[in-house]
């Protein structure tokens, strides 16, 4: 803990860098996975192979992914863009499944009633399907958030600065407390964001509280 008290400005700035990599990746995952998952759920013949492909993509280890992405997309290896895209690929692969499950959980009877009282397809999506699928989707977003925050530390291995830098630097210089601080701060950050999303879910889908 003395290490933390002596180095906290550095830790704070690394938290900032860490969030600057993770948050865009999480947002990007949601923006890609929701339409993709919706499409997969509406068209199961395309959706089945799509979710299997996502599962395979998720099986690719992170460090090789960080090395392949720059070659495929022409971005520099040691760039934030590389890290954000890599994290977003995993986030999307993980989230698509929850999105499909979420939309599938919407009661068909509710949808029929909505059609009967005159909802347009677009209104149906925004005012019926999405709100009702939200709790399941949000549970997926929470998993993605936690794993993105902890996965981002891998970036330090190729020289993309973030909280993982505490782990590599601490290891190379043999400072155990620096490594412990790195692990703890990363975990606390992940769990804090998880808690925030849990709270957001209670506000956005208050009807769930009565049931659980």
């Amino acid at each position: 803990m003395t290490w933390l008290s002596q180095n906290w400005p550095q830790v704070v700035s690394l938290v900032g860098e860490h969030l600057a990599l993770s948050l865009p990746a999480i947002v990007l995952s949601v923006l890609v996975a929701v339409p993709l998952g919706r499409f997969a759920q509406r068209r199961p013949r395309v959706g089945g192979p799509l979710t299997s492909a996502a599962a395979l993509l998720y099986a690719i280890p992170a460090l090789p992914m960080l090395i392949i992405v720059p070659v495929l997309l022409g971005v520099p290896l040691r760039s934030s863009t590389n890290m954000i895209i890599t994290l977003a690929v995993y986030g999307t692969a993980l989230l698509v499944r929850s999105v499909v499950d979420g939309f599938r959980s919407v009661d068909p009877a509710v949808r029929e009633s909505a059609t009967a009282i005159g909802y347009s397809p677009l209104g149906m999506f925004w005012r019926v399907d999405l709100p009702l699928a939200l709790p399941v989707i949000l549970a997926g977003v929470r998993v993605v958030t936690v794993s993105t925050i902890s996965l981002a530390t891998i970036g330090a291995l190729v020289g993309i600065g973030n909280l993982g830098s505490l782990l590599t630097d601490g290891f190379q210089r043999g400072i155990t407390s620096e490594v412990i601080v790195g692990i703890l701060v990363t975990a606390v950050l992940a769990l804090a964001l998880d808690g925030l999303l849990l709270l957001a879910g209670r506000i956005l889908a208050p009807w769930r509280r009565a049931r659980t």
């Binding site: 089945g48 299997s52 599962a55 395979l56 998720y58 099986a59 690719i60 280890p61 992170a62 460090l63 090789p64 992914m65 090395i67 392949i68 070659v71 499944r97 998993v143 936690v146 794993s147 925050i149 902890s150 530390t153 891998i154 330090a156 291995l157 190729v158 909280l163 993982g164 782990l167 590599t168 601490g170 290891f171 043999g174 155990t176 490594v179 412990i180 790195g182 692990i183 990363t186 975990a187 992940a190 769990l191 998880d194």
Partner: protein, 228 residues
């Protein structure tokens, strides 16, 4: 795209397929490390998870462990164990075991826990012994979920075994780190391709095992893909 040509050239060079640092040896190390970590972790996690699932105790604790394990940085565990235990193959192995336990534990717990009480009571009623109930009823019914946990653990371990090369001279990850240090993108990319192929092969094997287990557990159901 000529970086891919570099990688292919690196892979095609017979010199890279021989000796102590050659591709076959590295793949062997990688697989051995992965298998060893999985076996030890399974020996710890499966019996305890199954026992807890049977008594339906500690579900909240296991859920919390599996959940917070996701917040744990894998290189954090590797570097910390590396600093504590020193160099060599031991530290990465310990780190991999630690990382494999939560998924296996959660799989064993929820698999056994999901077997209905009526089913085990019925098995006992037709005269099965305790051991028979476990091996002929509970294990086959729980197997798809247990294999699902093993699949997640295997993915985690094979990926982290790549990072293990950061703290010890072992496995395919060595090519990635050597390539990074010497700016040899061809070697880095070649190593990455090998790791990806290995991980995908493992994923496909476990997906198949899971499907077989599912068909065995509920033969009446039409064979469909089990959710991962």
């Amino acid at each position: 795209m000529n970086l891919f040509a570099d990688a292919i050239a690196w892979l095609a060079d017979p010199a890279h397929w021989q000796g102590a640092g050659g591709v076959p040896v590295r793949i062997g190390q990688h697989l051995l490390l992965t298998a060893l970590a999985l076996v030890v972790a399974a020996a710890i996690a499966l019996p305890s998870g199954a026992l807890l699932g049977r008594t339906r105790n500690g579900g909240a604790v296991i859920g919390a462990v599996a959940g917070s394990a996701r917040a744990l940085s894998t290189i954090g565990v590797l570097t910390l164990v590396g600093l504590w235990l020193g160099i060599g193959i031991g530290p990465p192995l310990v780190a991999l075991i630690v990382l494999a336990v939560p998924s296996l534990l959660a799989g064993a717990y929820s698999g056994v826990q999901s077997v209905p009480d009526e089913t085990t009571s019925a098995a006992r009623a037709i005269g099965m012994s305790g051991a028979q109930v476990i091996w002929r009823v509970e294990v086959p019914l729980a197997l798809p979920v247990i294999v699902g946990g093993a699949r997640a653990a295997a993915l985690q371990v094979v990926a982290t075994a790549t990072l293990a090369a950061y703290t010890a001279n072992v496995g395919l990850g060595r090519y990635l780190f050597t390539g990074l240090k010497t700016q040899d993108y061809g070697q880095m990319l070649a190593g990455s391709i090998l790791v990806i192929l290995l991980a995908l092969a493992l994923e496909l094997i476990f997906a198949t095992l899971q499907r077989i287990a599912a068909r065995h557990a509920s033969p009446s159901l039409p064979s469909k893909r089990t959710p991962s």
